[in-house]
Assembly symmetry: none
Homo-oligomer: 127 residues x 2
DNA sequence: GCAACCGGTAGGAATCTCCCTACCCATGTG
DNA sequence: CACATGGGTAGGGAGATTCCTACCGGTTGC
């Protein structure tokens, strides 16, 4: 049980998968705009039964995008933005690409890099 | 074929879903670092058969994260970062949330570090 | 206590994902 | 022309996703 501040790499998959659903993105938007809300308020926003919303909340909770607080018989879910910060961090190295991309310039650069690639082998993983 | 520069809202789903696979994120990383590459070079990086890699490339191509160029009998795939810019744009309204929280954490850490002597031990704060 | 309310779990059907093995077409090269 | 190389498509199987209808355990109010 030692994982003080590190984030397991499996988390990134779960966060992106969670964000792939429009319902779940809408839940995050709702909580961002209105703050913590109980389930029945969240569920009222969607054309779907409460158990399905509950499942979506479970997915968001499991990947750390939500926190849960018990208030009597209600459970309030609130946005937890840290995983989104990690997504932003993952995007960082790509920023320069969309910044400088105003023509076929990067295609030329790509060809150049392609030509002069030395032999560093073996890590094509992301992190 | 009827949306030259506009972005249908359905695209966001596809982009996040594409990014949910570690294989596809690794493809993007590879193309970012080495520029455009033919399929057999990309496929050599993964412990999977070429048709599967081909499917992954099709997914990335379909959501606009890749461009395809024919060179003889090879097809070169290159990174197309625009959809990632849209992801970054989607993240923007959340930035303030993790900034303020990071600020609070920062203050706590600074206090801890600054205050080397254990005057009062607050051990209830790891996670 | 008893009924209404909040919200999670069980389990099932339709659909999607991800990998595989075959197979096919196109482009080069002897 | 014959054949190797590059790479897409077909279709199938195991497992995950997403919705549903039931159902059940806690809280709150009469």
């Amino acid at each position: 049980m030692a994982s003080p501040t590190t984030d397991p790499p499996v988390r990134q998959d779960a966060v992106f998968a969670a964000l792939a659903s429009p319902v779940r993105r809408a839940v995050l938007t709702l909580l961002r705009e209105r703050g913590a809300q109980p389930v029945h308020v969240i569920a009222a926003e969607f054309a779907m039964r409460r158990p399905s919303v509950s499942e979506h909340l479970k997915v968001l909770l499991a990947c750390g995008l939500l926190t849960e607080t018990r208030h009597g018989r209600e459970r309030h879910y609130a946005l937890r933005p840290e995983p989104l910060r990690e997504v932003a961090a993952w995007l960082t190295p790509y920023e320069q690409f969309w910044r400088q991309r105003l023509g076929a310039l990067d295609a030329l650069l790509a060809e150049d890099l392609d030509d002069g690639a030395p032999g560093e082998e073996g890590d094509a993983r992301d992190r």
